[in-house]
Structures are given as C-alpha cells and as structure tokens.
C-alpha cells in the first residue's frame, strides 16, 4: 500500500466510527498552543467559540486548530482543574495561551512511563514532587530532597558527599542488595542519579504500585522514580543564577571514653595491659571530623520560539564533607532542546554531562579505627604519630588518612534523542535512542612509611608500608536503550481512549583496567605508573555485559471523566537468567471511579473531588550481577614446580544454575478526595505486595567449599502490606498571604511467608558474635535474633539466685557485673536455643509533616520527617576486636564496677560477649528535615532594575533531630555506594542485615545562605 492510501483508509474508518466528519468549505483556521504555567503543553483543553456549539480540543502536544469565521469571536478555553479563560480573537490567526491551574494537585500531569496522565485520571498510585521543592533544599542528590514528602517512600540518606541515598518504596521490596528503585531520567533507565543536578529537575514522579510501574516490568519491583528535566518555553530568554553557600557539620556524635575512663575500664577488662604513659587524652573523632564548606552555583538560560525551544544549565557544586581530607566537586552541564521540524514532527535532544572529582577517604577503615583508638595514645606529638597499632593493634586513623592520596574522577554523559511524529493528530510515533556513558579514573597513592621512630613516637605494630604504591584504575561503561512506541489517543464523544504499544531493547558493556606499581616517588607530578619500579608492575582487568529486550503495551480508557480503566502488559527477557527462565510476563489492570462526577452527587458543596480506585499488577526484579547462573573459573592461580611459575585455575563460586525471576504481585486500593475548592486534598491507600522467588544472597555451609561461603538464589517469599495517608491544606487568605500545611503517614508490615528450602537465612556477622539476624517465616526480613539480656547481675547473690525450675543455676560461671540472659527454653543453660526475635530495622511507620507560608515577599517553609517502630543493632559497640578497644563514655559511666553495682551495663565487653538485646536499641527518630526562610524583592523594585526575580534565603537541613539511638545516626546505609561500577551502583547493604551500625558516615547538619536571580 502507498502511504497516502493507508492514511486515507484509516482516516475514513475513524470518521465513520465517530461521526465527527466535518463538512463545509475550509477557512483559514485559528491555531495555537495551550500550556500550563510550567510550559508543559496541555492536551484535551476544550476550546469553544462563545455563543456557538463550535469547538475543538487540544492535541497531545497542546496545539489546536479551529475554523472561525468571525474575526471578532471570543474563544473560551476550559479544562478541568484550570481556571477557564475567555480570549477575544481580535483578528489574530494565532492564539497561544497559558492556563492557570485552579486545583493543581489533581490536574497535575504526571509522567507514568512512556507517556503522561493527569493525576485525576490515574488508576494506580503515583506520587509527585516538583523540582522546585527539591532544589530549594541544600542536598546533593535529588532523592534526598524527596525525604518525608511522599507517603510510601522511605529514604535513608548518608552524610557522605556524593553518595546516593537508599530508597524503599512501600517496604523492603527485595531481599537482595538491589532493593533500590529504578530511576528513569528523561527515558534513560539507570540506578544512579548522582549525575543529575537538582536545579535541572522539573518533576520527580514515583510509581508506587505494581499497576503503575508494571510498564517497566522486570525493573519495577522496587518502585520507579521518573525524573523529568526542564525544557524551554516559548517566550523571551530567561536567565537565572542560583547559588548557595554554607557549611556542614556532624549532626550527632558519639562521645568516647577519655583517658581516665578508659584506664579505669581496662583495670577490669585487661588487668595485664600496661598502659603507656603519655599523659595524653586524645579525642580521635575531634581530630577526624571538621566543618565542611559547601557551595553551589547554577546559571541557566531558557526560552524559545515555536520552532525551537531550549534550556541550558551549567552547575558547580563543591562539598568538603565532614571528614578530614574528604572532598567532592561536581560540574554539570545540561542542554535540553526541542525542534519542531514540521507541525507533526518534532525532535528532542536532552543531553547532560557531569564531571566530578572526589578526594576519597577509606571510611570503613577510618571510622572503625577512630572508634577503637585508645585515648591514652597521642594523635600526633612533635610531628610524630601516636602508635595505636603497637599498643592495641589499631591503625592510627589520622595517619592512615594522611598517608593516602586517593583521587577519583568520574565523567558521565547521558542523553536521549527522540523523534516524534504524528501522521494524524491521534497517532504519535516515537523512536528514542538513549545513551548512558561513564568514564572513571582513580589514582590512589599510598605513601611509604615504616613502623619505627621516623614515623611514630615509638616503634612497632603492624601499621606500616615499607614501599610506596601507586594504583591507577580506569573504568568505562556504555549503555544504550532504544525505545519505540506508538500512541493512539482519541476522544470519541465521552469516551477517551489512549493506546500505547512499543518495544525496547538495551545493552550494557563495561570494562575495568587496573595497574599497580610500587616504589613510586612521593610527588604528585610523578604519580604515573612509569615512575614506579617496573619489576613490581601488575595489572588486572575485568568486564561486564548484559542485555534486555522487551515488548510493552498499555490501554487507558475513560468514560465521561468518570469511569477510568487502565491495562498494561510487558514482556521482558534478560540475559541475566538461563535461557529457559529468561522470559517474564508482567500484566497489570486498574480501575477508577470519580464519584464526584456522578450526577447524583451534590454539586457546589464542600466536596470538590472524590475518586475510588483499585488495581493489580505483577512486576519483577533482575537486579543481580550478570553471570550468577554460569559456573566460571578463576585463572592465573600461581604455583611453582621446579622453581618455574605455573598457572592454575579453580572453579570459583557455587552458582544456582536454575536462577529465575523474582516476581511481585501487588493489590492497591485508594481513595482520593478534595474539599472546599480543593483547598483540602488527601489520599488514602491500602496496598498488599507479595514477592515470591525472592533473589537473595544466602550464606551456605563452609563444607561446600565456596570461597565466600555464599551464593545467590531464589530463596523465599514475603509480603509487604500497609496503609498510606496523605492530607494537605492550602489557602490564599489574600493576594499577599498564603499558607499550606500537610502531612503523610505510612504504615508498613513486612513478613516472610515462605522459604524455598525451609532454611532460615542467617546474616549480619558482628565479629565473634556471629550472625545476628535471622530471616524466617512469620518475621520481618532481617530480624535481629539474639539472647534476651535482662540486665546485669549486681552481686554474686543475684547469680546464685538465678535458677531454673529445677533449682539449677542458669549462669553458674558468671561474675558480678556480667549480663544476665533469659533462659527462654528453661533448660538451665544459656545457648543459641535461647535467642529471641528482637525487632528489625524496618520501621512500622514513617511520616512527614510540611508547612509553609508566604506573606508579601517573605516565604517560610519547614518539613519534618520521622520513623518509628524499628530497631538498630549497635554493632560497633558489640564488635570488640581487642580488649584495648576504646569504649563509649556513656557506657564507661554506667558500667558495673565493684563500687557501683550497676544493673544496666556490664562490667566489661569482650569480643565473645554474646549477641543480645543489650546491643539492640530503638531506631525511632523525628527530625526537622529542612527549614527555609526567604525574601523576594517586590515587583516595583524589580521593574526598576529590569529583573524578574531576586530572592535571598537562609536554609538549614537537619537542624534538629530527636532520637533514642546512642550511635551516630539512626539512618544507616551499611556502607557507601560501591564506587566502582557506576551503572551498577548499589548500596551494598543487604536488607537481610540492615540496621547494624558498624561504621556509618554520620548524618550531617547543613546551614546555607542562598540567592536566586532571574532576569
């Protein structure tokens, strides 16, 4: 068939169906585009010639075309949720219009994956946060700015510069480390959004339930966060400059014992230890931590014509971090352009580049050592370091920072280009190619030093590096994603139908190269491998590759804006599973009923909107490493025969050759409402999410000989169910005074319902205490499983009196001052059979409260965030490496001594002090997340100086926290995001062992002063 013919047949059929065929001679039509305040095109706006029945609606791109015979006619633009406007034509041929929203909450357009919907038309659960709300906070990653703003979205952030917070959408959705949501940045699917400048963000939409996220199939199990960046709008060029400058400091510090307390403690814990007499009283944390400066600067240009729209931003951020020598600098550029090549053909290119430099600190080592280092050893004295290593086998943390220069440079280029073509108004074809490329290089120089008196106050210990060492790492990753979709959208009378179909494929390839030489001179100009000893030259390399291929489709149907129906389907195939298990099918359906549209509902009353909705969907998770089902070999294992080096191999890890998809099925019910002209809005949701064949890394018995004694398999099933409540009130009292207040609350209940081999999963090793969490049927994932400590035996009498039913002494070997444990099974002895479940890190509920007001030029806002019902295991206190490890001041003050028979804290803590509830603490906290006070210059002054906007503001992140936990922060990301492998970036904390505090980066408090200028 010829193209023309095909088109005409289709058009003819449609005309016959709808009876909308128009007759009469064509006249020059009036054209234009309708947009919202943000410059987004508004589809479906009704345009009528006043006093007639003639009219039309805007197309998906907001354009319309209407034949008008009377040049003085008045056009009426109306759209639900927006204030209607009447525009006299006045002989014009083009009328562009911006509609002001009347109740923006409900009519907000949200991005739902491969398309957009009005929020009021959704049948699933989607939360949105505007870019302005994120950019207003002094945070480095957008995710952190969402904290406390959305029900069902729990965000745990670390204070480490350049780190990405951990996100849990509706509970822990996976047992694997990859419990992170999928991010979609302008169509680019990624795990890492640290390259996105918060200033560039227009909106962040979180697809929370399975019916909303199922369009992303296998990637959606942990929720989907869609980030849309800003675009230009038609009009004159707008230039803005935004900056902020401030500092960060540690929000909460653990005070360690001073020399007197420490010496006193060691009299009991290690009477044989000879304490060196330096007369020192070192505060190691004080030496390690500092106030870190933080600055951001952004310049953006945007504007455009009907044919070309542009948005351009350059941003710079520097964040020193609160740890000595730590630093993070980031430079970003974004250019989003849109060319309207023809009225039905558009090309959009959105490209961003990021470069960052990190001066890295090995935090796990440094924090651990700082916690343990004895106060009796000087940090430095007379230019020499105190030798903590010789005394107590703990490296001097300040020395270890000073003797390493670890610089990390990361470049990321991310972009999407798409062509969108509408052969007819109701069809939109889009082909989009996205690329995500990363290049990293790392230069780590380890300075040589000896454990003698040239470095230390005294010699000895194992902290030394006889030879300097230079490591260079280069890593690159390239990913492409090719999306092709066709969207049909048409209104037939009161039927509104949108059909989407498409296919997408994706491939990632990465490689890694590392070279090392020793004996490199200590001068930055010589930090190249060539300057090192060639006889010590070694290198290693690695690679990764994976691909996915998918088909997808979705139907949205609504009748009279009243009955809403959505159905979607996705088929995914992933190279990460064996070919028999490779395909996954992910359907979803949802229905909604806008009750307030029913004729029998009273109109004009307090109620302005009411919707009931329900949905079901199935989603999956393939967020595991690439080759977990194929047995591979390690080659290059050296040995010598006859003095000749000979290489060997071994089969590396035990693999599950039958690995399959993890699938989640979710039901979601919601009620959305608005009262009093949408001044009061709210939403209630119930969800029930069942995950089966959960992918998880389980520990396996050592006798199987696996080198790390663990492997990844489909280990079990679990459920997350809960309620979400959101309510908000906003009102404009007068032109000059408006305010808003709102809050959200999420109740979540997580429970393991099945274990594939009936084997509970033990994780969370804390030194000699062994595994302290148990994941078993009927319990939340990663529950602490420990002895029940009832207190401390104050006297020998209490020990003698502690007997079971047969009069047997339960802890006959205890001494006064030891912990007393409950004999749960009453067998007369304390052992593993007496362990109890003592809670988990997963909160029972979490909540956010926000409030704001604007009066004349002053704006003020604050938001709070908190969670409750979870527990934290104080792992750093429990993990005693050596008797001489320092203890916390609070413990030292409260522990049992012969003169102070405490019943709360034991006399001493040893490495083999068993895991017990003594180390379990409450994870509850409540925090003033952000408080901001701003002032904008009045319009008359601005007009005089030809400015659009000048605003100055003061802000503080984390100004105040109320918590019960004695550690650094109740917000714990077990370790920093894996810094190698940018596209596979994951927080390495497994949900199976969440909430064990070992060496976290403390939460920080930020103060900043900012300025926004637009002209």
């Amino acid at each position: 068939m010829k193209p023309g013919l095909l088109k005409y047949v289709a058009v003819l059929m449609l005309f016959l169906c709808t009876g909308l065929a128009q007759a009469g001679p064509p006249a020059d039509p009036v054209k234009g585009t309708v947009r919202d305040k943000e410059g987004n095109p508004l589809p479906g706006v009704t345009i009528q010639i006043k006093g007639t029945n003639q009219g039309t609606v805007t197309q998906p791109d907001g354009t319309y075309s209407l034949n008008v015979t009377d040049p003085n006619a008045i056009l009426v633009f109306s759209y639900i949720g927006y204030t209607p406007q009447e525009v006299p034509l006045g002989g014009r041929a083009v009328v562009d219009l911006v509609l002001e929203s009347s109740a923006s909450e409900l009519n907000q357009v949200v991005v739902v994956g491969y398309g957009t919907r009005r929020k009021r038309d959704l049948t699933g659960s989607v939360g949105s946060v505007s870019g302005d709300a994120i950019a207003a906070q002094p945070v480095n990653t957008a995710t952190q700015g969402v904290q406390g703003k959305l029900a069902g979205v729990q965000i745990i952030s670390s204070g480490a510069p350049g780190s990405q917070p951990q996100v849990r959408v509706r509970g822990t959705g996976s047992m694997l480390a990859g419990a992170e949501p999928l991010y979609v940045v302008d169509g680019v699917l990624t795990n890492d959004i640290r390259n996105i400048n918060t200033t560039d963000i227009l909106t962040m939409d979180v697809l929370k339930d399975a019916s909303a996220s199922a369009i992303y199939g296998v990637r959606a199990a942990n929720g989907v966060i869609i980030i849309t960046t800003k675009r230009g709008r038609v009009g004159k060029m707008e230039v803005s400059y935004n900056m902020s400058v401030g500092w960060r400091e540690v929000a909460s510090l653990v005070k360690m014992a001073n020399s007197a307390q420490y010496t006193d403690y060691l009299k009991d814990a290690g009477p044989n230890v000879t304490i060196p007499s330096y007369n020192a009283d070192s505060d190691w944390y004080d030496a390690l931590l500092r106030k870190g400066m933080q600055q951001t600067h952004n310049v953006s240009l945007s504007g455009g014509t009907e044919k070309f729209l542009y948005y351009f931003n350059v941003g710079y951020l520097t964040d020193e971090g609160i740890v000595r020598s730590n630093k993070y600098d980031r430079f970003t550029i974004r250019s989003n352009n849109e060319w309207n090549i023809a009225s039905n053909l558009k090309f959009v290119a959105q490209v961003s580049y990021m470069h960052n430099t990190t001066q890295n600190v090995n935090l796990a080592e440094v924090y651990n050592n700082t916690y343990r280092a004895a106060p009796v050893i000087p940090i430095t004295r007379d230019g020499k370091y105190g030798n903590t290593s010789a005394f107590q086998n703990v490296g001097n943390p300040i020395l270890s920072i000073d003797k390493v220069n670890d610089r990390y440079k990361e470049n990321r280029l991310q972009g999407t280009g798409y062509l969108e073509y509408s052969p007819w108004e109701f069809i939109k074809l889009r082909s989009s190619m996205s690329a995500n490329q990363g290049f990293q290089n790392r230069r780590r120089y380890n300075v040589a030093f000896l454990n003698n008196e040239s470095t230390f106050l005294v010699a000895g210990g194992n902290q030394q590096r006889p030879e300097s060492q230079l490591t260079m790492v280069k890593e690159e990753g390239t990913e492409w994603i090719w999306d092709n979709t066709v969207t049909f959208q048409k209104k037939f009378d009161r039927h509104d139908l949108t059909v989407l179909a498409g296919f997408t494929s994706q491939e990632y390839q990465g490689n890694y190269l590392e070279g090392l030489r020793r004996n490199v001179p200590n001068s930055p100009d010589l930090w190249y491998l060539i300057a090192g000893d060639p006889n010590t030259s070694t290198n290693t390399a690695d690679g990764d590759k994976y691909a996915r291929r998918s088909w997808l489709g979705r139907i949205n149907y609504s009748y009279a804006d009243k009955y809403l129906l959505t159905a979607s389907f996705r088929n995914d195939a992933s190279s990460r599973f064996p070919s028999d298990n490779r395909n996954g099918y992910f359907p979803a359906v949802g229905a909604g009923w806008v009750i307030s549209e029913e004729p029998w509902m009273p109109k004009g009353g307090a109620l302005s909107f009411l919707k009931l909705r329900g949905s079901w969907g199935r989603i999956g998770n393939d967020n595991i490493s690439s080759n977990l089902y194929i047995l591979t070999a390690n080659s290059g294992l050296l040995y010598f025969f006859g003095g000749t080096p000979t290489l060997g191999t071994n089969l590396a890890d035990i693999k599950d050759r039958n690995l399959k998809w993890e699938t989640t099925e979710e039901y979601d019910f919601g009620l959305e409402f608005a009262f009093l002209d949408s001044r009061l809005t709210g939403e209630v949701n119930y969800y029930n999410k069942k995950t089966k064949d959960a992918l998880v890394t389980v520990k396996i018995p050592g006798l199987l000989g696996d080198p790390d004694n663990e492997y990844t398999t489909n280990a079990g099933s679990f459920v997350n169910k809960g309620w979400e409540f959101t309510v908000g009130w906003k009102d404009n009292i007068s032109e000059d005074f408006s305010y808003n207040i709102g809050g959200n609350l999420t109740l979540n209940d997580n429970e393991v319902t099945g274990l594939n081999q009936g084997q509970p999963l033990f994780r969370g090793g804390v030194g000699q205490q062994g595994n302290i969490t148990k994941t078993d049927n009927g319990q939340p994932i990663g529950s602490f499983f420990v002895l029940d400590a009832m207190g401390v035996f104050p006297t020998q009498g209490a020990i003698d009196a502690y007997v079971n039913k047969n009069g047997q002494k339960i802890q006959p070997n205890a001494q006064p001052g030891d912990l007393q444990y409950r004999d749960v099974n009453d067998d007369g002895s304390i052992n593993d059979l007496d362990r109890i479940y003592a809670g988990s890190y997963q909160p029972k509920f979490y909540y956010g409260i926000n409030a704001g007001l604007a009066c004349k030029g002053i704006d003020f806002s604050m938001d709070f965030y908190g969670n409750a019902g979870n527990k934290i295991y104080n792992g750093k206190k429990a993990f005693r490496y050596e008797v001489t490890d320092n203890v916390e001041a609070k413990y030292a003050d409260r522990r049992w001594t012969s003169t102070r028979p405490s019943t709360t804290d034991p006399r001493v803590l040893y490495g083999n002090t068993p895991a017990s509830t003594y180390f379990v603490e409450s994870g509850n906290f409540f925090r003033l997340n952000n408080i901001t006070l701003g002032y904008s210059l009045p319009k008359r002054i601005l007009d005089n100086i030809k400015m659009e906007k000048i605003r100055i503001y003061l802000t503080s992140q984390n100004l105040f926290t109320s918590k019960r936990f004695s550690g650094f922060s109740p917000e714990m990301i077990s370790s920093n995001p894996k810094q190698d492998g940018f596209l596979s970036l994951q927080n390495s904390s497994s949900p199976l062992e969440a909430g064990i505090e070992l060496s976290p980066y403390p939460t920080t408090r930020t103060y900043a002063l900012g300025l926004n200028i637009t002209f």
Binding site: N393, A459, F640, L647, G648, N650, P701, D706
Partner: protein, 500 residues
C-alpha cells in the same frame, strides 16, 4: 509548518529488524571469565585445576585459612611449645586458644574449617574433571594421585582438629548439596578410611622424587604421610613398612646442618619430602599469607621490625633441649639483653627493643640474604610439611611399637647424631617410646606437630595442665565445630563433647 509522512516506514522497517534480532542478543557469555563448559573441552584444563589445588596451600590471612596464622594458632600456639606472643592484647582469639578458654564462635576455629573445605572443594573439582581429560592413563593417574594426596593431607588436618567431619569426596550436585549425606558428620573412622584410600592411591600412582618436578607430590611423600596416618591409627606394622620404603628408596637423607633446613638454601633439599613451594613475582604475593610475617620479630622501639611476633617458643621448650643440642639455637631466636645477631648478620638491637623473649627461627626469613620482594605478609618462605628427620622418628616409633627396638634405636640415633648429641640407649620398649617422643618434641619443635602429637600419644591433658593451660580431658583434644556452621546446617552438624 509542513507535515512529513514517510517516517512510519522507517519505524516499521526497524521493527522487523528488531524482531529478527532473535535470541542471540540475550545469550551473553560471562565477560573475562572462563566457563565450566570451556574447561570441559580444554585438554589442559584438568592440569590447570590440579595446579589450582597446589595454590590453595597459600591460603592464609584473617579469612579462610590453610597454612597461615590461624593454622599456626591451632597447631602450635595451642601447645606447650609456643605462646601466643606479640603484645598481650593483640589478637584476642589466639589468646583464647592459647589458654583454652575459647568457644565454638572463635573465628580461628571457623576460618580453619572453611579454609580446609575450600581446599577440599578444589581437590574435588579437579577430580571431577580429570577423568574427562584426554591425557594418557599413567599421566592422568599421576595427577589424580597428586590431588588425592593433597585431599588426604587436608582431611588429615581436619580430622585431627575436629574429629569426624562431613565427608565430601566429590562435588555434590545442586540437589545433593543440602542432603544429610553432606550436612552431617561422618565418623572419624570413615574419614580415616577416605584418607587412607586417597594416600594409597597416591602411593600407587605418583612417581618417585626425581622422576617428577620439584614441588609436586612424590611417592615418598605419599608413603611417609600414609605411614604417619597409620601411626595415628596405631597400625604400627603399616606405619613401619611405609616409613621403611621411604628410607629404602635412598632418595632422602638428613641435611647435615640442621639450621639450613629452613633457609632458602635448604629448600627442597635432600631432607625435604614435601614442602609448600613459594617464590617471588611482580605482584609479590607468591607465598603463604601471614606465615613467616606473623611469627616475625616484633619491635617495641628503635627499629622497624620483621613481623607481628606471634608463636613464641616457650621457656619450657627451650629447657627441653639437652645441653649441647645444636637444634636449640636453630629453632629459637633468643633475644639477649644487649641484642642478638641473626644468621644473616642482622642485629636485633636489644631485649627492650622487642616485645618478646623468643621467636621461631624456623619461620625467620632473611630479607637481605634470601629472596624477598617487599611484601611482608607474603614472605616467600617454603613451609616444610614432611621431612626426613620426622620420617626417621616415625620409623623409630613404628619399629619400637612393632617390637623392633634395635631398628628403632638406630634411626633415633641418626637424628641425635646430627643434633650433636650422644647416642641414646634403650631401656626397653616403654623407655624407648618416651625417648622417641621426647626427641620428636625437640626435633620437630615449632613445626606444627606438637599439639596433635600430644593428643595422639594421650599426653595432652597432663602436659597442658602442667603448662598452666585450662585443658579439659575428653573435650579439648578436639576443637569445636564452628557454631556458625552448625547453624547453617540447620543443627544437623552435632557439636563435639563439652562445647555445647
């Protein structure tokens, strides 16, 4: 603006191409990793797997351990020959073992278990693939023999440490891995049967020293180890025959200078029967992790030291040497108040410059006179696992127990002669037994034999308690099954007596 109408065809075309892309797009082999399938089809792969078994003998550090500090702790620090050493507070888990106050959660107990099973897994993988190899039968059996020797050696260490352990004599299929067959303990007798059959296969299929590369398992090594195993089983006749076969092979002898056995120049000498090979390479990691360095002299002030200072010879051991015994100064570095000069000329400044009174000379590696590439944790020191001196004493003990006191005395006196001591005189079988045991202690001091030897000969309780250790009879002869492993087996692994 104009409308463009030809683009649908580009898109439809690309759809067709896409659909035709097919399945191969998703069949991505592991990048940079040889797969098991490739190993099956590669003729040299099974040889590579055998080499990989030898390599596992370097496993040490603070994780799974085969021959590192944790091995030293369990075999030497545990005994009356050595103290934990280092600073009093360093490495609490080892102190617990030194004083016999450890529990089943002690990390050393766990890491030695996982290390040895890792080694056994490598053996089983190689044994799984060797039958598929296109090599000639004799060559194939030689390789199988080498691996079975090593597996027997690893199991011998396991059974001596923990008693009966799960018997993994093949790579379990995924379905079998969780079965009771593998997840419960076999008896010590069953494990000994496996060890004996492995070593017997090696005896029958591995060439003599000289007919195979230095460093590989030899027939002599297999005979000696099998003889030692029979000695533990009190099968004196077999122990005697096998020891005799090694002597009669004429391929081994005592090295005249006892101290040289542990020097680089004494590596793979006439005395050596089996030793772990090490060397230098660019990465400087071709050695057992934390073997020599963990036992090196530890400075307190004034100089940069040689190690962590663990595993110090005790005063009791020093006193066990007869006057004039050359072996004492070859075994023990005694730090004198005004310093000690080592064989390579290095001078340890003074007693107050170091942490401890005595260090093991057998673990000392000269950084100036011997190969050393700069990474202390991987000092290239060969570990002498089996040597002729021990063989002679094993021979003597077996002969004595088998009723051949004359042969026994003759072999004992070869050992004494080299030590510069007068010949011993036998006062009957029981007297000679005591003399041989005493000789074993001083000849093999600091060579990871003492603890097991005391248990074998039933003297452990008395000797250990006399030495001040809290050793309990019928408990501490064996170490506990690691608690974590019991939990991971779902309590199917049963704990050793006394550790519950």
């Amino acid at each position: 603006m104009k409308k463009l109408n030809y683009i649908p065809f580009v898109l439809i075309g690309s759809l067709v191409i896409y659909a035709a892309c097919g399945k191969s797009f998703l069949d991505i082999p592991p990048q940079g990793r040889v797969t098991e399938d490739e190993i099956r089809t590669n003729p040299t792969a099974s040889i590579d797997l055998v080499n990989g078994v030898y390599n596992v003998m370097w496993l040490g550090g603070f994780g799974p351990d085969v021959h590192g500090l944790q091995f030293i702790t369990l075999t030497s620090i545990s005994s009356d020959d050595a103290d934990k050493g280092s600073t009093p507070q360093d490495y609490e888990p080892a102190l617990q073992i030194d004083n016999f106050i450890f529990t089943a959660t002690n990390p050393i107990v766990q890491n030695y278990w996982t290390g040895l099973y890792q080694a056994i897994a490598r053996c089983n993988q190689a044994l799984d693939k060797l039958p598929l190899s296109p090599l000639e039968a004799a060559e194939k059996n030689r390789l199988i023999g080498e691996v079975r020797f090593l597996r027997g050696y690893f199991y011998f260490n396991l059974v001596r440490t923990y008693g009966g352990v799960p018997k993994l004599d093949r790579v379990p299929t995924p379905d079998e891995a969780n079965s009771d067959e593998f997840q419960t303990r076999a008896t010590a007798d069953v494990i000994y049967e496996l060890i004996i059959s492995d070593l017997q296969f090696a005896v029958d299929n591995v060439p003599l020293k000289g007919a195979t590369q230095v460093g590989r398992v030899t027939k002599g090594a297999a005979q000696m180890l099998l003889g030692k195993v029979y000695m533990y089983r009190k099968n004196w006749q077999k122990a005697f025959e096998l020891s005799q076969a090694v002597v009669n092979s004429g391929l081994y002898d005592t090295l005249s200078a006892y101290a040289d056995i542990w020097r680089a120049k004494g590596a793979n000498s006439i005395e050596s029967i089996f030793e772990v090979q090490t060397g230098t390479n660019a990465a400087c990691n071709a050695a057992i992790e934390l073997y020599a360095n963990s036992q090196g002299i530890r400075a307190r002030k004034g100089w940069s030291d040689f190690g962590f200072g663990f595993n110090n010879p005790t005063a009791d051991l020093a006193a066990a040497y007869e006057p004039g015994d050359k072996r004492k100064d070859a075994t023990i570095i005694t730090i004198l108040p005004n310093g000690t000069v080592l064989w390579d000329g290095f001078r340890v400044p003074s007693r107050d410059s170091v942490e401890n009174d005595r260090y093991s000379y057998k673990a000392y590696h000269s950084r100036t006179q011997e190969p050393y590439c700069g990474s202390p944790d991987r000092t290239p020191k060969n570990l002498r696992v089996l040597r002729y001196g021990e063989l002679l004493l094993q021979y003597a003990e077996a002969a004595n127990e088998a009723g051949n006191g004359g042969e026994a005395l003759a072999k004992l006196n070869i050992v004494r002669k080299r030590a510069g001591l007068p010949p011993a005189v036998s006062g009957g079988q029981a007297d000679l037994r005591q003399k041989i045991w005493k000789e074993r202690r001083v000849e093999l001091a600091m060579e990871h034999d003492r603890f097991w030897d005391l248990v074998r000969t039933g003297r452990a309780g008395a000797v250990m308690r006399a030495h001040g250790k809290a050793f309990m009879d019928n408990k501490n002869e064996l170490f506990p099954i690691p608690q974590e492993q019991i939990v991971l087996s779902n309590n199917r692994l049963k704990q050793n007596p006394g550790y519950d």
